[in-house]
């Protein structure tokens, strides 16, 4: 048996299939960082950290005239988002039902995607993760009105180019930025289309990017997410009516080139 202990759950293969399919659908929709950054893995549960190649000197080692140093490793973090399902509802899947109430799966998948993206964009000090936004040395480009988005994106692109960060560039849009660019138009021409014409990468909906929008080069080698156990659903416990499951993963994130992204801040 593996760590997820799925074989202990009172769930039929048909039930598992619908749970997994729904989680997969929601995760692919909500996960934004994985659409932007380099991906290493999955390396399995055994991976505990990423070699940074750095040394931390110990100035007073236990033995004189011997230099001591500790290898620096960035540890992986484990996330777990629990949810509860009705066993009777899941049993309907084995009888052919394809309209199960999977709201708990959807909510858990949204939470996991939000947690992973928050760590990547905004950082997570307890996990020793520095986010793309805090790592960027570029002053944020302020966007004071909806119609300023195209100008701000051109300005942000120029800043990245001036720093030697060539494209292709992708634009990750937080909830407000996405709503404004999708809904509004300039002289009848949708803002989104105007911006897409000026980008050579995708527009990415990023619910966790509450700070605004992020222009990032996707040329590779600048940002890396390292995944041990990739997103999976495991089993915790059950009683006569309910079964408790969880979404889980292990990962860390590193900024390898801090100048490779710039924040666009809606003010």
């Amino acid at each position: 048996m593996d760590l997820l202990k799925r074989s202990l759950a009172p769930i039929t293969p048909e039930g598992w299939e619908q749970i997994d399919d729904e989680a997969r659908r929601v995760l692919k929709l909500h996960l934004a960082a994985r659409k932007l950054v380099d991906f290493s893995g999955p390396h399995g549960w055994e991976l505990g950290g990423v070699n940074t190649g750095r040394l931390k000197p110990i100035h007073r080692g236990p033995v004189p005239e011997v230099q001591h140093a500790v290898r620096d490793v960035q540890p992986l973090i484990e996330l777990r988002s629990p949810f509860v399902m009705s066993i009777m509802e899941l049993d309907y899947a084995a009888r052919g039902a394809n309209d199960l109430d999977l709201d708990p799966v959807i909510a858990a998948a949204e939470r996991m995607a939000f947690a992973e993206d928050t760590a990547v964009f905004s950082g997570f000090p307890d996990a020793r993760i520095k986010g793309i936004i805090e790592a960027s040395p570029h002053p944020p480009v302020d966007v004071k009105a909806t119609l300023e988005w195209p100008r701000a994106i051109v300005q942000a692109k120029a800043a990245l180019r001036a720093a030697g960060m060539n494209g292709p560039y992708a634009l990750a849009l937080g909830p407000q930025a996405y709503a404004e660019l999708t809904a509004d138009s300039e002289d009848g021409y949708p803002l989104r289309q105007r911006i897409e014409a000026n980008l050579d990468g995708p527009l990415v909906w990023a619910p966790a990017l509450v700070a605004g929008a992020l222009l990032v080069t996707t040329r590779g080698g600048d940002h890396e997410i390292t995944v041990g156990q990739d997103l999976a659903i495991g089993y915790s416990t059950h009683d006569r009516e309910k079964v408790e499951l969880y979404l889980t993963e292990s990962f860390t994130f590193r900024v390898l080139e801090d100048k490779a992204a710039i924040l666009l801040r809606r003010t």
């Binding site: 997969r24 994985r34 659409k35 991906f39 399995g44 549960w45 156990q229 990739d230 495991g234």
Partner: protein, 128 residues
């Protein structure tokens, strides 16, 4: 066209498909050469010549892997399957089932007793 093996009217094919065709034909030729050198070396009765043939065979393997890497970078399905199978351990025929929810995980480190089935999300970047 560098190869006469196109099966469709070149006018109907994209540049991307033509380049992939060139890469696949090159890969086939390199692997064929490996096979030939392997057999010649084994049958050869002269030690010096055998050493040259083995050296040449290894060069062809390098060439094949360089072309394969180009293909991996330009075709996400090749990339996904290479990630699944190349470098894995344990029974090869079980590797895909492990990755897609059967027994274990098929990351670059291969399956192990502690591996778990994942949802197979991986990278979501276009072209990966």
């Amino acid at each position: 066209m560098s190869s006469e093996a196109l099966h469709e009217d070149p006018g109907l094919l994209s540049e991307e498909t033509k380049n992939m065709h060139r890469a696949i034909v090159s890969l086939k030729e390199e692997l064929e050469a490996v096979d030939w050198y392997q057999q010649r070396a084994e049958a050869c009765s002269d030690d010096d010549l055998r050493a040259v043939l083995v050296h040449n065979k290894n060069e062809e393997i390098e060439h094949a892997m360089m072309v394969l890497e180009w293909i991996r970078r330009h075709n996400p399905t090749f990339a996904a399957n290479i990630a699944t199978y190349v470098g894995s351990s344990g029974p090869i025929v079980q590797t895909e089932a492990q990755r897609t929810g059967g027994v274990g995980n098929a990351g670059p480190d291969g399956a192990s007793a502690a591996a778990s089935p994942s949802l197979g999300i991986g990278s979501l970047r276009e072209g990966k």
